[in-house]
Amino acid sequence: MEFVKDHDPYPDLRVNIGSLELQNPVMTASGTFGYAREFEDLVNLHRLGGIIVKGISLEPRAGNPPQRIVETPCGMLNAIGLQNVGVERFIAEKMLYLKGIGVPVIVNVLGDTVEEYRQLTQRLRGVEGIAALEVNISCPNVKKGGVAFGTVPSMAATVTEAVKKAADVPVMVKLSPNVADIVEMARAVEAGGADSISLVNTLIGMAIDLQRRRPVLANVIGGLSGPAIKPVALRMVYQAAGAVKIPVIGIGGIENTEDALEFILAGATAVQIGTANFINPRVSEEVVEGIGDYVKANQLKSIRDLIGALEV
């Protein structure tokens, strides 16, 4: 390890996800940060490492009926059902603001068929301000296709290939934790041409209303997120990072600097903060600051020195 000079007040937090350079490794996870504008009063958006917007599909989606969310011990279940404004409105109404923020905007894309993913990616080609795509193959809340893409390695690879072929920006593939072997999935999307992998999406769970003898969520099952899933996520990031050469982005229950640093130690080049945005809208910015303090306090030359530095 090299030492920074004492007079240098700015810790080096830059990380590279393939060809995409981030000013720091902290991004906001898809579906937890809206289209960023929702947070403008509370967060210095330009300080974030990257913003991953709510998943976009070719056509607008209304999402699931209520009840869509429920709190569980140290976590929450959601079954929003991929509600989104559709790609045309996204480009026309949301991108203008997003591209002005000055940090990489990563667009989460989703579809029911490989052809939909391809068309959507095609539509996003050349749209100014998009730094990368994140392919959502793992949302557990829609009945058609979504789960299969995320759980069958060959299908995950096929979707990855289709998006990669149509895209003019780097492609990140977001993995589901609801699989028997995360390493196999990570390798499959790497082989499919992914530039990076983000994991994990939510763990499928459910909650029951004993009084009504019904599921709490209208969708019956939903995705579990929050601190409850952090140990599982950390394990999967550790395993995936050890198995692929492309950068891995850690997601799952991160709610403070320590959590983020643990994921980086486990092999994540960057992290995404999700559910914690709901509780503390400023959390991502606070984690950027916290990581900077850690780098300084530990006299690291760069946060990059910590990536995968876990000693086992």
């Binding site: 579906g31 937890t32 940060f33 809206g34 929702e38 947070f39 009063d41 509370l42 709510k54 209304a62 999402g63 009926p65 209520p66 009840q67 869509r68 969310i69 429920v70 709190e71 011990p73 140290c74 976590g75 929450m76 959601n78 929003i80 509600q83 929050g226 601190p227 709610e255 559910t275 945005n277 709901f278 509780i279 503390n280 809208p281 400023r282």
Partner: protein, 262 residues
């Protein structure tokens, strides 16, 4: 409309009945920009369980920078709040959502049922401060028993508007529902109804106002994670079949804009 996140000090804790509690907090930024019918998201404790903030409608705000919330100790979050102490700090985020759209020149009928009384105090203050004749304004408060209503009556009386109360068991005011009181009153033809309370009460308000051709706005409740339009967890079906979100499209809606069960 700007939002603020504040560490708000508890300056008053009132146990209004066995389960009903009112907390006054110093939250000057929220207080300065809040409108009647808006809400705040509050972290009830410092830990991870409960994880999420809880939405509370603004019961009252003051020009000296205070806000009040009124709640019932019924769940894990509210149970923690029920043990909060004066001098402690709570993380408050708001004001959020769309409040009541007040028709300045029309008589107002405020209907609060149970915890739905909470936002009505703020609204009553605003209505009573309008420089117009108040002889046709009316407040109707109701609850299951005396303890849901009586402790708040003095606060409402200060505004000098006509006040009627009802309880399910007849222990305070008339025996019956707030909607029974509403039906027994002769309302001016251009009265605006403002309601908050259980869903079935709001539905009766909707049908009543439709039948009488009166404007009716209600504040609705929902589970929420973020309170600011990011999680999309608080959807409701609107009258055209699409979804609206309680946190950003509401919590106050014209009843005609929502889908009702029957």
């Amino acid at each position: 409309m700007s939002q603020h996140q504040e560490k708000a000090r508890i300056i008053r804790f009132e146990q209004l009945s066995e389960l009903n509690i009112r907390i006054t907090l110093e939250a000057p930024l929220v207080a300065a920009s809040a409108e009647a019918g808006q809400f705040v998201m509050m972290k009830t404790g410092n830990g991870q369980d409960p994880l999420l903030r809880r939405p509370f409608s603004l019961h009252q705000t003051s020009s000296s920078g205070q806000i009040q919330i009124y709640f019932k100790n019924v769940g894990r979050g509210t149970n923690i709040l029920a043990h909060a102490k004066v001098g402690e700090f709570l993380d408050v985020f708001g004001p959020l959502g769309r409040g009541f759209s007040i028709a300045d020149d029309r008589p107002a009928c405020l209907v609060g049922g149970g915890l739905g009384i909470a936002p009505m105090l703020f609204l009553a203050k605003i209505i009573s401060s309008l420089s117009r004749d108040h002889s046709q304004d009316l407040i109707i408060l109701g609850g299951r028993t005396r303890e849901d209503v009586e402790p708040l009556v003095e606060d409402f009386k200060q505004f000098g508007l006509a006040l009627h109360c009802a309880t399910d068991d007849g222990s305070y005011g008339i025996r019956g529902f707030v909607t029974d009181v509403l039906r027994s009153e002769k309302l001016a033809g251009n009265t605006s109804i403002y309601g908050c309370g259980p869903d079935n009460m709001l539905e009766v308000l909707h049908h009543f106002s439709t039948e009488k051709n009166l404007d009716c706005q209600v504040s609705v409740e929902s589970v929420m994670a973020c309170g600011m339009g990011a999680c999309l967890g608080c959807n409701l079906e609107s009258s055209d079949g699409s979804y609206v979100h309680v946190c950003i499209d509401g919590p106050v809606f014209n009843t005609g804009d929502l889908a009702w069960n029957s």
